[in-house]
Structure formats: structure tokens, C-alpha cells
Symmetry: C2
Subunit: 280 residues, 2 copies
């Protein structure tokens, strides 16, 4: 099932057209989004997601996404959801129609979580590393490249996943051209070394992860060391576990990387899941 709420506080039909052809979100991929996990009627990390939506919008010089209207739309979708106990809630905010008055187009769309994601959560997934074609200092040097903004211009991210599938894998870990680990197309990379969790820093031009942040918060409280620092591709093979984190996939383990088997991290996953769930 799907539930669609608009920023004016009304529900709308997700199977009917709602967007004009000249919306810049469509015409130019010119807008921002977030995907939130809702469990038992509660949106996880809503405030960090709305903060990040604002941050992405600012990177695109867009108006501030109207927070109260988005919060209302979130409540409206949740209140009208009659599907499974967990669902994905997507928030979208575009620059509005071409030549318009500057008012953005926004909505919240509740969707079932796909079977593939549920299977990957349980069984892990295979990943390949792909060159993202950037260097570590580019995000700072060239903010017009919008590195680290969660924009609607995600064609590259989708193309990378198709490339992974062509290589017989399910997911991607992007790296800089010199082999520094970045992120997945729709996830944050986390590795485990002993009692330490590591993720690459967002200053490399990647998205600060909401799920990764929640996990690190819980882990730190439980006595883990958490590090946000550059990671080289080779270090992924030496880790006790490599994980992709995102709102909808939660924490998913990477079982093979570039065709090479990684250490069995099933027990580690159970431990991390426990930490993550303890936050809610």
C-alpha cells in the first residue's frame, strides 16, 4: 500500500498525477529528499532527517523546507497507514515549477519496504567498489558539485547499482579515485575493528548518515570507540565486519566485496542491531 500526503495537510491519490511536467524536480532533478523508517507508528530520527533536508536544500540555495508542514504530512501518512508495521516514508521537496513564484513542491509518501531489502537485512549482501571520480578535497573546493547533498539528481547512484548487478553484486561502495572509501549510493559504510566502529567523514563529500549516527550514539554509550575518519579500500578486507546502514535497510552486513568473501559478521550484526534498536 501507499499513502500520500501533501504539504497543505491533505491526502492525495498516489496513483493519480500530482506533479506538473514543468516542475524543476522533474525537469532538472532540482530538489531534495529524505527517506525515513517508520516502525509501529513512530518515525525514526525524524528531527535529524528534517535537519538534513534543510541542509541539502541550503546547499541547493533552495527555500527552507517548511518544517511544520512536513511534520504534519508525516503525521498524516502515519495516521492513515494500514499496511505492515514497518514502512518507508519519503519526503520530497523540489524547487517548484519553472518560472513560478519560488514555492517548492513537497510531499510525504509512505511505501511498503521491498522484499529485496528485507532479504538483505537478514542475509547480508554482496558489494563492489566503484570509483566515484572525485578526490577527497573536492567537496570543499567545488560546492557547486553538491557533493553531500541529498538531491533528486540520483541518476548516477542508480547507474552504479546497475553496474554492481552487472558484476553479480547487489550494492556499491563508492571510493575516491585514489581508493578512499566514501559511501554507498543510498547508504553509509561502517566497519568494525575490535571494539571500534569506523565511518568515513562527511567532509569527503558524502552524506552524514542518520542511521549510522544513531548506531554510533548507542555504541558509544555501550563502551565502544567510534571513529569518523578516512578509510582506505584495503582496510575493508581487514575489518571484522563491513556494514551498509540506511534508514530502510537499517544495518546490513556486506558478505562479499569485489567477489572476495569477507569474515562472517553475523554475530557482530546481531550485536549492532541490538545497539541500534536500543535507541527506540
Amino acid at each position: 500500500m501507499r499513502v500520500l500526503a501533501l504539504l497543505d495537510g491533505t491526502l492525495a491519490d498516489p496513483d493519480a498525477p500530482q506533479i506538473r511536467v514543468d516542475d524543476l524536480g522533474l525537469m532538472r532533478g532540482d530538489g531534495v529528499f529524505e527517506t525515513i523508517l517508520v516502525v509501529d507508528g513512530k518515525p525514526r530520527e525524524l528531527s535529524p532527517h528534517l535537519d538534513r533536508l534543510e541542509r541539502s536544500a541550503a546547499m541547493l540555495d533552495m527555500p527552507v523546507p517548511p518544517r511544520a508542514e512536513f511534520e504534519r504530512a508525516v503525521e498524516l501518512v502515519i495516521g492513515n497507514w494500514t499496511g505492515g508495521s514497518e514502512f518507508a516514508l519519503k519526503l520530497v521537496y523540489t524547487r517548484g515549477v519553472e518560472g513560478g513564484d519560488g514555492t517548492g513542491t513537497g510531499f510525504a509518501l509512505g511505501m511498503e519496504i521491498g522484499a529485496k531489502v528485507l532479504k538483505q537485512r537478514a542475509e547480508g549482501l554482496s558489494a563492489v567498489t566503484l570509483d566515484r571520480g572525485i578526490e577527497a578535497d573536492l567537496a570543499d573546493r567545488a560546492p557547486w558539485l553538491l557533493l553531500g547533498a541529498k538531491s533528486l539528481s540520483y541518476a548516477i547512484n542508480m547507474a552504479a547499482i546497475r553496474e554492481a548487478e552487472r558484476r553479480g553484486a547487489a550494492e556499491v561502495i563508492f571510493t575516491t579515485s585514489s581508493g578512499s572509501v566514501l559511501e554507498g549510493p543510498t547508504s553509509t559504510v561502517i566497519l568494525v575493528r575490535g571494539k571500534t566502529l569506523v565511518t568515513p567523514p562527511s567532509k569527503l563529500g558524502i552524506l552524514p548518515g542518520t542511521t549510522q549516527y544513531a548506531l554510533f550514539r548507542a555504541a558509544e554509550r555501550a563502551g565502544w570507540t567510534v571513529l569518523v575518519e578516512p578509510v582506505q579500500t584495503g582496510e575493508l578486507y581487514d575489518a571484522e565486519g563491513v556494514f551498509l546502514a540506511s534508514s530502510v535497510r537499517k544495518i546490513t552486513r556486506v558478505t562479499t566485496l569485489d567477489g572476495k568473501q569477507l569474515p562472517d559478521s553475523a554475530a557482530l550484526l546481531t550485536e549492532l542491531q541490538g545497539l541500534y534498536e536500543s535507541e527506540y
Copy 2:
């Protein structure tokens, strides 16, 4: 005025919603487009534009855009256009709705040409160079980055134009990180040295220009030398003229680059315009 035609051969209201919120063109900038100039009821370079639409779709692993349906939509818009003698005709083809049957969403939208473009055609424009953050071999090495595809994921291109405006200019000439000239966010770069026209090669990961190609075709017939070869930023200052070419802007001269006055190329523009118009 605006005229909207759909791929089923019908006209539709461009002021009414036509696109579902879960269309991947909106959700992921996952689709391709072309913008065609129509003059006195005739679409210019229609066939090269449709070829390029197909090429972009192939780069995105999308189904082949249905050519006959697009041609019919183009005719329908032109047949119902009652505005100015020149207009812009945008063709859009997306991957369709999420979880759908793989059928793309497509349309043709006729739109008036903005006053800003008309002014720039007459008076020229100021441009700045901006680092596109890529190197010359990246397009070949990493096809998943979709360099040279005209996709709907154009947020970076729009952000670059806003950066130019912040710097007091109107347009952008993208360069590689090592200073090799690429293209404008929505145009092809052409420079003139004596009786030679030069443009950078598309293997750098840039779009082959339809207007540039038409101009080079005419120029070659008229005895000019035409070169498709790498150009360094410094060479732009040494040229007798620097031009941005695109369907809607035709050939527009760059008057200042990074705040530095370029040689007066008004007479050269008249000559190039004559060559270009001789094609139609």
C-alpha cells in the same frame, strides 16, 4: 504560451498535474531529455536530437525512447503552437513509475524562449570557469558516472549557474580539475582561431552538441577548418572569439571570462550566425 503533447498522441494541460509522485524521473532524476529549437514551424536538428535522446537512454540502461511517438508528439506541439515564431521544445523520457512495468513516461513540451536568452543572443554574456571535478579519462573509466548523458539529474548544472551569478556572471564554462575546457552546463564551448573553429571532444565526458555540429558542418563547407580537440583554459583568452552554442541560445558570444574582457567578437558572431542559419 505552452503546449504539451503526450506519447499517446494527445494534448494535455501543462498547468495541470500529469506526473505521479513515484515517477523515477522525479524521485531519482532518472530519465533523459532534449531541448529542440523550432523556427517557423520547423524543428531544427530533430533527427540528431532524437539520436542523442536514444544515446542518453542507452547510457542509463533505459528502454529505447519510442521514436515514432516522440515524432508525433513534436508534430502535435508544433501544430498547436500559436505563440512566437521561435520556441523551445523539450522532450522528456523517464524510467517510469517505481515498481512499474518498465514503460517510460514521455512528453513534448513547447515553451516560449525566455527574455534573458534573447538578450544574451544579442549582447553576449559573461562567463566564469568552474571545476567540474573530473579528469579527462574518467568518462571512459567510469561509465556509471553517466558523463556525457543528457539526464534529468541536472542539479549540479543549475547549481553551477547560480555560482556564476554569485560571481557576477551569467554562465559557466566547466573545466577538468587540471584546466581542460569541457562544456557549459547547458551549452557547447566553441572557440575561433583565425579561420578555425575548435570544440573539445565528447570523449572527455561531455555532450556532443547538435548546434555546434550544425555550425561546424556549415563552416567546413564554407572553407573553415574545424577541430575537435582538447582546449586548455588559457587558450580561451588567446582566441579571437569564444562562443556558447545550444539549440535555444543558438550561438552566443562570451564577452568576459572570469572577469577579464575577451576580444570583441561581434563581427565574428555575425559571420558564424550566417553560417549556422544557412543550414536551415
